[in-house]
Symmetry: C2
Subunit: 363 residues, 2 copies
């Protein structure tokens, strides 16, 4: 175990705090996820936050989860529809109490399948950004032809300036090292073409800053939309608007392919026989691109690990989100960010939206 | 034939002007495309612009193309690497002479597989925007689960304001009517969530303006990345940066699916047999999502139809770009834009980048 192993730190009693009440099918899905986590992360303890009475009863059906969890009562509930401002006022919600546990150093991180906006707002206010980071970003792993790729920001920041993008590169590198285990992840900056002149001033300045930074050797330069699934780089950096659209567009396209494929196999008796012959391989392929496997977006850049599970995730999906959080905590993603920022003496970049002459895209 | 049939207008001698020298394999690919166009568009004439000597020789191998084309000599060449500013100075290039023919009313539109940046710059300067349109946009058709979907802007404008987005909706509607033949296309505005509060001020103002316009009944509201391939709306409106990334991300994801599928079928003898059983259906599927079928992005909003073919397109792809241009000319896309703009008395929208409070995405 390395020095930055927070899970082994005796001062941190719980690996993670878990919001038991967030998501479409809480707490069953959450407890089902913990049941799987008990096998995958032996020796770890989790702080399970929610309505104590409900959880005591529910835990009877999840004996392995019951063994690794300590329940903390939090009667309040942040509903999926609640506005962030309302969620901020609710001090006894399961989400708030779980995040508070991280702030107090009782847990290395938090996982919730609840209200995204509320989670982002609460986490930012309670945990605060790491020194040297101006804004946290949502990062997650996506499938590519050459292995897993980290993309960020996936939607925490609608507009980003040059400094934000450079910080995202630092955080994306740390994520790829901690969660994907890559020694020197390659970083790409998403643009509408790969030539240096493409895009706007904001992107060109971010590229210049990265070429001038300790990340220079790992900086690939600009990448385009198709490079995400091609796996041209291990990390793809972009603003939260573009990242969110790209994430959902890619998922949608894979869904379209799967729909068309289903039609092909259902054409007639021969194609149905063909399906039977390739079924094992198809199932492996489906599993591999299964969004559940990629569940768990990390809000990186805060004092503590914050992982958002999809609200509609099943137990397997929630278990994947726990895995991501465990990797981020155990392999010290925040220590890696701090170390890298320490090498970058000062990010001498304006925090203004510097939109200069824009060069159109290739089509 | 309708009134707006420019091809039937005796004052316009050529349906289209064709840049014979643009693209990776010019002029062979271009002439191969015209050979196919001769069958698909009987009675139409094309102005073929390029090096006369080269074209005379090459046309001997494309007898059908030779019959429908009039060659116009243009010795200059805009290379794929040439900067737009350099291309603008080259008055005898095949690209320039072809666009000039449209400006003079000799042809209804122009098709080129050449340098994108040069084409956009030249077309804007020579043809100028339609009255009431502030900036042209690149529009093209994409596959979806519910039929073809028009997306714009695909990269002509890196940053767009509210007014641009509203104009793109008007142009997208006209495109869907003319090229897809839809009587009342449904329009969506690409965002990071469907709730009214999502995204930035620019998007919220554009949505408000569309709800207040004659397009209100066809305006669906915000759509997300996965809605593009789901076919939630017939038209997807976005800025050129996001549109370019979304287009390429979707293409990349379909390519990944096809790569994974190939691996599945190649696993062993049984899977190879399975492939043989489903091959006809797979080939139809591949054809259906084939980027060649969707080749031909229209730069809408100019006085004349301008179609960009992919530089690496083959003859079938170039023929598809000619088809798009013919549809746009024959079904009067510009007349449809003018009619719609006539209904919108004044677009009382600021042309400034009005970036207000941004609301983060759902993930």
């Amino acid at each position: 175990m390395s020095e930055d192993n927070a899970a082994a730190d005796p001062a941190v009693p719980f690996s993670l705090a878990i919001d038991a009440m967030g998501g479409d099918n809480a707490p069953e899905i959450v407890l089902g996820g913990l049941e799987r986590a008990a096998d995958r992360h032996p020796g770890c303890r989790f702080l399970l936050v929610g309505d104590e009475e409900v959880l005591r009863v529910a835990l009877m059906r999840f004996p392995k989860a019951a063994k690794i969890c300590t329940v903390r009562h939090a009667p309040g509930l942040v509903s999926m529809e609640m506005k962030p401002t309302a969620a901020l006022r609710l001090r006894d919600s399961s989400l708030r109490v779980a995040i508070d546990a991280v702030a107090r150093g009782e847990a290395g991180g938090v996982v919730s399948a609840g209200n995204s906006g509320a989670m982002l707002a609460l986490a930012k206010i309670v945990l605060k950004t790491l020194p040297g980071i101006s804004r946290p970003a949502l990062a997650a792993v996506n499938p590519s032809a050459r292995g897993d790729v980290v993309m960020l920001d996936l939607g925490a920041n609608i507009s980003c300036d040059t400094r934000n993008l450079v910080e995202f590169a630092v955080m994306g590198e740390a994520f790829a090292k901690a969660v994907l285990g890559l020694p020197a992840p390659r970083i790409g900056l998403l643009n509408v073409g790969v030539e240096e002149l493409k895009g706007d001033e904001r992107l060109r300045l971010a590229a210049d800053a990265l070429r001038d930074s300790p990340l220079a050797a790992q900086f690939h330069g600009f990448v385009e939309g198709h490079d995400i699934t091609a796996g041209t780089t291990d990390v793809v950096v972009t603003d939260g608007f573009t990242g969110n659209v790209a994430l959902k567009t890619g998922e949608g396209a894979l869904k379209l392919a799967s729909l068309l494929l289903r039609r092909v196999f259902r054409t007639n008796l021969l194609t149905r026989l063909g399906y039977l012959l390739v079924r094992p391989g198809l199932e492996r392929m489906r599993e591999w691109i299964d969004p559940r496997r990629y569940n768990g977006a990390v809000l990186v850049g805060l004092n503590g690990i914050v992982v958002k599970s999809h609200g509609g995730a099943d137990a397997e999906g929630f278990a994947a989100a726990i895995d991501v959080a465990m990797d981020a905590v155990t392999h010290g993603i925040n220590e890696k960010i701090r170390a890298r920022l320490g090498q970058i003496a000062t990010l001498t970049l304006s925090s203004d939206e510097t939109q200069g002459a824009a060069v159109p895209a290739d089509v």
